[in-house]
Symmetry: C2
């Protein structure tokens, strides 16, 4: 009878009908756990996501869900808010018992765990992160940082500040620091001296970014433009400007990164990355591998970045001096 459920090629039409009828009458429902135990797969994919409530993470997750929508896989969510979480989840995820495959976001898995997972053969796809021997869906964050900063430089700004994540963050996020690298590179090339006081680090949070921006604006020589490493942080900058009575973009230009929902509303100039698509592609790669039981090629898929100019950037205002 399992043969008809998994529509094996060898069942006569009559038997199939008979079994189907019985199933209907008894209200039979296959137990996914038993099936999973027997087949050695759980029909489940896991998504390891740091701060899954962040707009960018949600958008990526939406892509994953969309990819799973057509399949018969369930999505198990592993939220990571502390390094300990990460440790626990990866420890639990070793072995393909919990999930048939993993989409890991923004979070380079500890290489030790990665090796074990790879050795055991758990298919993994990294999204917004890279790892040895594992396929990844990424963008060129350095280039993104260059786009944002370059735009500001082209407008004539020379006092450009940066707000982003701490390069030594406990999770090992790399996107933020790379955007910062792009920022520094452009500054170098434009012959603009790098000012340490113009670079501030803090959590990916609107209010934190706002505080950081207020510090920047209180500097003796405040920046005429701020590049925030994410749109969430950019909104904090916008808030700081508003509170400080600064007009945007006349008195202060602001560029963000991501292009989340709120950005269009806020008229924020930003660097768009295909968040939804990254989740979609990541999950598709994974499903493909899981379904065909084919090992994943460790290809790095790079998705394009787009500069979106809206209403928060303009040439610097001529002021004192």
């Amino acid at each position: 009878m399992s043969r008809v459920l998994n529509d094996s090629p060898k069942v006569s039409v009559t038997t199939r009908a008979r079994v189907l009828a019985a199933i209907e009458i008894l209200g039979y429902r296959p137990n996914p756990l038993a099936r999973g135990l027997s087949r050695g797969r759980s029909q489940t994919v896991g998504a390891v996501v740091p701060f899954f409530t962040h707009a960018s993470a949600v958008e990526r997750l939406r892509g994953v869900v969309a990819a799973l929508g057509t399949s018969h896989y369930d999505l198990v969510l592993f939220n990571v808010e502390t390094p300990l979480h990460r440790e626990e989840h990866f420890a639990a995820l070793i072995g393909r018992d919990r999930a048939d495959g993993l989409v890991v976001m923004s979070l380079p898995p500890p290489s030790e765990h990665l090796k074990r997972l790879l050795a055991i053969g758990v298919p993994i796809v990294l999204v917004d992160a890279r790892g040895d021997g594992v396929p990844a869906v990424v963008t060129d964050d350095i280039e993104g940082g260059r786009m944002a900063t370059g735009h500001l430089v082209a407008l004539g700004h020379r006092h450009i500040a940066f707000i982003g994540e701490d390069p030594k963050n406990a999770f090992g996020f790399t996107s933020g620091p790379q955007r910062e690298a792009g920022y520094r590179a452009v500054l170098d090339e434009a012959g603009i001296p790098y000012r340490r006081s113009y670079v501030r680090h803090g959590a990916h949070d609107r209010t934190v970014a706002r505080r950081l921006a207020e510090q920047l604006l209180a500097l003796r020589t405040p920046p005429t433009a701020i590049f925030a490493s994410s749109d969430v942080q950019a909104t904090g900058v916008l808030e700081a400007a508003r509170v400080g009575g600064l007009r945007v973009p006349e008195d202060l230009s602001v560029v963000g990164f991501d292009d989340i929902e709120i950005s269009a509303y806020a008229g924020l100039t930003t660097v768009r990355q295909p968040l939804f698509d990254s989740g979609l592609l990541g999950a598709r790669l994974l499903l493909d591998a899981v379904d065909r039981e084919r090992p994943l090629d460790p290809i790095v898929h790079q998705l394009p970045l787009t500069f979106v100019e809206r209403a928060t950037t303009a040439p610097p205002h001529r002021r004192r001096r």
Copy 2:
């Protein structure tokens, strides 16, 4: 050896140590599927969420995740974007094989399914929805609608429009329509005639709401205030005002509902509902029932609403006439 894993009371210290050592050496990891099959539970709770990417849903989900954080349950996400989805998910969820318990959000389960789930004994908690014989975590949406509208009336507005979800929506959401009921009740009590043209329905989406608001503002007698059934829709209204060259709150007052992240940023006056807490409480109730294998009392837990006055409401501007 399973005895030591489930730390049964009757194992000698020495054997326990011995087993633990072996576990360590062999790198043994229990298979959750097998355990689940044997014990008849999957250590999983399912969350059925319509449009899980909506900020309000995400915030509720965050509460659920927080509640699960301390437990040993995994979260399986069932996203619902079409009535068909809903059907499929509930059909699959019948029987406690897939999940040991369910948190169902904003979406009154079809009563037929509800009965079956109840009969089989799958613990369910409804959040932002009600159902016969099932515990629920709700707010008083009618009262919320009254708060918002009452505030506008108290400010002196007599031309108050409403933007919300279609009462005949395919999912059976009730929150929106109830807020609308509160709106109508206050209008009645204030002796303000109800204008059909002042009530517009559309999807829970910023751009849709913006279009609706534009229609309202193009009316021969445009409203001086708009109550949007959700903050997402309220931002659409704000956008329409901005595009139309209307100042908020001088020319147009706007009230939303939910108090999501963006609302504080936008300075939106709104009715706050405890989104995070609703998810937290819902999941806690569920876990409690699942852990003790105690049936759930069909209690309706009502969470409080708070009116949050910010910067988008003011007395109506005196104009023509």
